[in-house]
Symmetry: C2
Subunit: 255 residues, 2 copies
DNA sequence: CGACTCCTTGACAGCGTTCAACAGTAGTGG
DNA sequence: CCACTACTGTTGAACGCTGTCAAGGAGTCG
């Protein structure tokens, strides 16, 4: 299942994991092969991981097998961070993936002890995760298929530091389960963006994508900030004098 | 916009807010009328709020007005907690709502200072929010309309401590924007559950609901935990020998 | 070569949305 | 008291986006 690279633990050179644990923590390197589970939902959270090379997906399942991927993790990303003793979801290697890992207790000890810097960093990591989850809720709840795929491409583009050719590590099915779609719909949305000459494929695998027009791509993603006064007026400011619900309010408050 | 109840600040008797700030923090009480904005997306985060009576919704908007409600807050709940200086979304009073609030800087000072208890509590609050967001991603990405409404009813039932008659503070539109549906679909799903004799309405407003059969309601929500070995085998454990993607992996790693 | 995975595309169905009509409640004002 | 208005909620009918089912191409591996 997991391949130990170095038999001896080594000192982590740098990165968030090192910063989190201060200078005194040690980590091991392991390699997980494509498709393998790194940890499972409900399992005891023993380690915290940072990706060196490769890619990882984390997901939740419904009993009948419907899957929601909550996040993709790329080189440099930390994952497996839990506040409780068990993992919230399953993590699997999308590619052959090399990680460095350290015992969770090492970090939590340092954090809740006397290292405010580490606590702040940990806080920031969780905050980033929370922000991502919240904007993803907007995507899943309210965006169309093309908007979702556009948002996904922009997110990957950003996280891969805007490469000339973006190489996606995950399959269409993975993308679909991340975006709350089917893989056919993802494929169709990509074809639409290709036909619109917003992107093009490099090679023949469908995994290498060149973003030709990031501006128009961002327009396909509905998240672009525009001033829109009408919606604000309509939705945020009902008639202040209307107390139609007052009786009901009191009813609820009296509950 | 906001009505000050007490001109003099008072000491908070108990609750999370008091625990967060230790014994030395003070708070003010304010009342927001139905429909009014408490704070807006992007505004500077000055206060942290705890609901005394009433109910609050927090939401995000797309430029064209599509709305995603991220959470409902009920009496006792804290909201407005931010790690950064600005609010992630807009908060509005669903009912006439009395809150107590305290300056954000009071808390953050205490937390990152020398109060590990408060830090742990704050951590727990954020963790709960994150868990809620993640399970909501599964709902928004993968559940059907009836499953979403069932999950919503079970969530409210739980948070209202399983009352005989559940009084919903929010409209069908609010529920719809929380569940990623239209209000018509929410209404239809509720009618289905009523026809199935899983719930019934009390009175004539459509806001007072009696859950007749919570077991079957939980079955309508797809989240019920069942052991399902097939899916685990199929989805989590691809052929370990298959290294079809190995070439590609290295390609990606070389990126 | 065959077996397998990944991806694309077409045809069709269905769930949820959109559009519309209507009912019930509450507040307003004559 | 009764129109009148505004808001909320339910229900019906038709549409359409996305899912489902199916076929086939391309690449990889044994």
């Amino acid at each position: 299942m997991l391949v130990r690279n170095n038999t001896a633990n080594r000192r982590l050179a740098d990165g968030d994991l090192a910063a989190l644990g201060g200078e005194q923590i040690f980590c091991s390197e392991f390699t997980y092969r494509t498709g393998y589970e790194i940890f499972g939902q409900g399992e005891e959270a023993v380690y915290i991981y940072q990706i060196i090379t490769g890619a990882v997906r984390t997901h939740m399942l419904l009993p009948d097998g419907r899957r929601q991927i909550t996040a993709f993790h790329l080189p440099g990303d930390l994952f497996g961070l839990e506040n409780r003793a068990t993992h919230r979801f399953t993590a699997e290697a999308i590619l052959n993936t090399k990680v460095c890992l350290t015992r969770r207790c090492n970090l939590l000890g340092a954090t809740f002890g006397r290292d405010p810097g580490a606590a702040k960093l940990l806080h920031g990591l969780i905050d980033r995760t929370l922000r991502h989850a919240e904007s993803h809720m907007l995507l899943l709840g309210r965006k169309t298929a093309v908007e979702r795929v556009s948002a996904f491409l922009l997110e990957m583009d950003e996280r891969l530091a805007h490469p000339d050719v973006m190489t996606l590590p995950m399959t269409r099915l993975d993308i679909a389960d991340y975006l709350g779609l089917t893989f056919e719909t993802v494929s169709r949305a990509l074809s639409i963006l290709k036909d619109q000459e917003i992107l093009q494929f490099e090679g023949k695998t469908g995994r290498k994508i060149v973003l030709i027009d990031r501006i128009r791509l961002a327009q396909f993603d509905g998240s672009l900030e525009r001033t829109n006064e009408i919606q604000t007026v309509v939705r945020n400011h009902p008639d202040p004098i209307s107390d139609a619900q007052l009786a009901f309010s009191q009813d609820f408050e009296a509950e």
